[in-house]
Amino acid sequence: MRKRLYRVLVALIGALMVLMVGSTVAAQATETPPPDATAIQVTLQDEANKDAQGNPKPIEGVTLVVTKDGDKVGEGVTDAKGVAIIEVEELGKHVVSLDEKSLPSGTVLDENTKNEATVQVRFQGPNNRAIFPIGVTAGEQSSFGKDLAQNLRAGIVFALVLCLAALGFSLIFGTTGLSNFAHGELLTFGALMAWTFDQLFKTGGLATVSVILAGIIAVVLGGVGGYVQDKVLWGPLRRRGTGLIAMMIVSIGLSIFLRYLYQYFYSSSTRSVSQYSGQQREEHWYYLGLAFADREAITVLISIVTITVVCLWLAKSRMGKAMRAVSDNPALAASSGLRVDGVITNAWVIGAALTALSGVLYALTLQVNVFMGMRILLVIFAAVTLGGLGTIWGSLVGSLVIGLVYELGPLFGVPTSIKEVGPLLIMIVILLVRPQGILGRKERLG
């Protein structure tokens, strides 16, 4: 149906053209090709010369010659609308050349527009097009400085979100010595919960604060998840004296388990939360010369506050010291009267909540997908290791370095398609110079 309509339309246009072009035009052009005939269509217009409605001025009377394998197979002249339709017999490669002499005076092809275009004729109808841009002003290309600012902003946002997750990882690693390969799934959990509750709230009376509310619930649930995990799985394992390597494998198992469980219930599709995703960036004086979307600014703010609070708490509080003590030597910690299990549970709850928060914030920028955690896990590892395993400040520094290198790398020659290589290489290089990580310490010997 539609097809037919379209053909009628093309025929009408063709007829109109015949009327307008008149008899002065060369022979070939006067014969309007049948609408279904295979033809090359060229439209010429002067972009630099726009009328009141902003439509560029058509360029009329320009001669176009079509050749195939060097033989001329057709010729056309643009009409009042700047359009020329040149019928061709065969399919295949044709060259359309524009006769520059026939251009109206004052109109010239600029230096990077050739007067020849190659068209692979494949389609029925006048659907095989060529173009000769005239008077086109290229869109403004960004400068290095601007790129730097853009990528810096992306790096900062990414680094801070990463940092929350890395902090969570460090906290758990720091108290239990466990390299938790299921850490990515904790992050996914946060994002999924945020999405789920957002779905609940987004239509009700709470719609205006839907995502915020859902985010808060997700973080709380993340903490609860950490608690449950520790009580049900890791606690009993510790009590049976399971070794760290075995625990690490358990965590690999857990990550596979959780990832597919999520997928079982949420399928693998990417989902968006109901608010904030389409915000545009703006430059305000308080963004220090960078452009942030509001959600990004809030993300940065929340991250910085959370990170500061957690770090101070860990450095100063008794619980923070207790966590390090447990990590050093659980048996001795118990002998000192620490409730080792309690301390570890604490680490799990806070670590998991932090990671869930990271997931929520990550979801604001990159939507919700059951694999999001898995994909970022290696980056988290890199950040934590780079800073120095188990040191809290280290994971902070590590995340910043990794996040920035990740986004800035492409500016310095890393191909964007493999930009994840940048931070990994940097990490390798840094570890070679400082095998214990940026902030790690060498152990005493003997």
């Binding site: 008794r318 010291k321 207790a322 390090r324 003590a325 990590s327 050093d328 030597n329 048996a331 001795l332 910690a333 118990a334 002998s335 000192s336 009267g337 620490l338 409730r339 080792v340 188990g390 310490r441 152990e443 005493r444």
Partner: protein, 258 residues
């Protein structure tokens, strides 16, 4: 030890252990299923008593202390604190009941500073920290001078001081010490023994394992000789130190004053 010996031993133990603050009866314990390290070991400590344990390497001395403190699985027998059964209780519960423990190895938190290590000692009573800290640094001035240093970088002897200091922080009513003098310089060793005696005089019951057997037996009220997980000899410290059998088998003649 013949079975009649064992019976006699058990009998005396039963009689004398009455009213002990800490007592273990017929402990059978070990690390791996099927391999017992302690084979029917008895021990008691009266309030305010200083009990020493000596014996060859691998006899099970450390295991015995760990068993008392709930760090080794006890297959049979019981541990009682002031008459109450504490077998299998968690370590932190025991700490809150007033038992302190200094392990033989791995006895500091390497990534914590000296001060934080000591803080861990009075984890359950943080208010007492300043007071106890002054007390401990008076005994080991080196610790006070280096309070901000990470324990991981300390020398062997310095670690031992931290470990001892940590136990002193908690003001326990029963103190279990596993070779507290190992690795310390002679003057520090003496200091440890004197201090232990002093703490003990102040009313703390102490059970200490020592390889510096002669010194240990000099200060303790009563000593046990442990061999292959069993009590081989027991008696007042001085008596044991002079017992020719004990000297021959466990003390050696090196350094003995004749």
């Amino acid at each position: 030890m013949t079975s009649t010996d064992a019976d006699k031993f058990r009998e005396t133990h039963q009689r004398e252990a009455e009213g002990a603050v800490l007592r273990a009866d017929g402990l059978i314990a070990g690390y791996l299923p099927g391999v017992n390290i302690l084979n029917d070991t008895d021990l008691y400590c009266q309030p305010g008593e200083l009990v020493g344990i000596i014996g060859p390497n691998g006899a099970g001395k450390s295991t015995l202390l760990k068993a008392l403190f709930g760090l080794v699985k006890i297959h049979e027998g019981s541990v009682r604190l002031e008459g109450e059964d504490i077998t299998g209780k968690r370590a932190d519960e025991l700490v809150s009941r007033g038992i302190g423990f200094v392990p033989q190895t791995n006895n500091v938190f390497p990534s914590l500073t000296i001060e934080e290590n000591l803080q861990m000692g009075c984890y359950q009573a943080p208010k007492k920290f300043t007071e106890r800290f002054d007390f401990v640094t008076a005994i080991f001035p080196a610790l006070g001078e280096r309070r901000k240093q990470r324990a991981g970088g300390l020398s062997g002897g310095e670690r031992q001081m931290v470990a001892m200091g940590r136990a002193l922080m908690m003001e326990p009513s029963v103190l279990l010490l596993d070779e507290p003098s190992a690795g310390l310089s002679p003057v520090m060793q003496d200091e440890v023994f004197v201090q232990t005696r002093k703490i003990n005089k102040a009313g703390v019951s102490v059970v200490m394992v020592e390889q510096n057997a002669r010194r240990c037996l000099q200060i303790c009220d009563r000593g046990y000789v442990l061999d292959q997980g069993r009590n081989a000899y027991t008696g007042p410290g001085r008596e044991l130190a002079d017992d020719p059998k004990v000297v021959e088998l466990y003390l050696g003649t090196l350094g003995a004053k004749d």
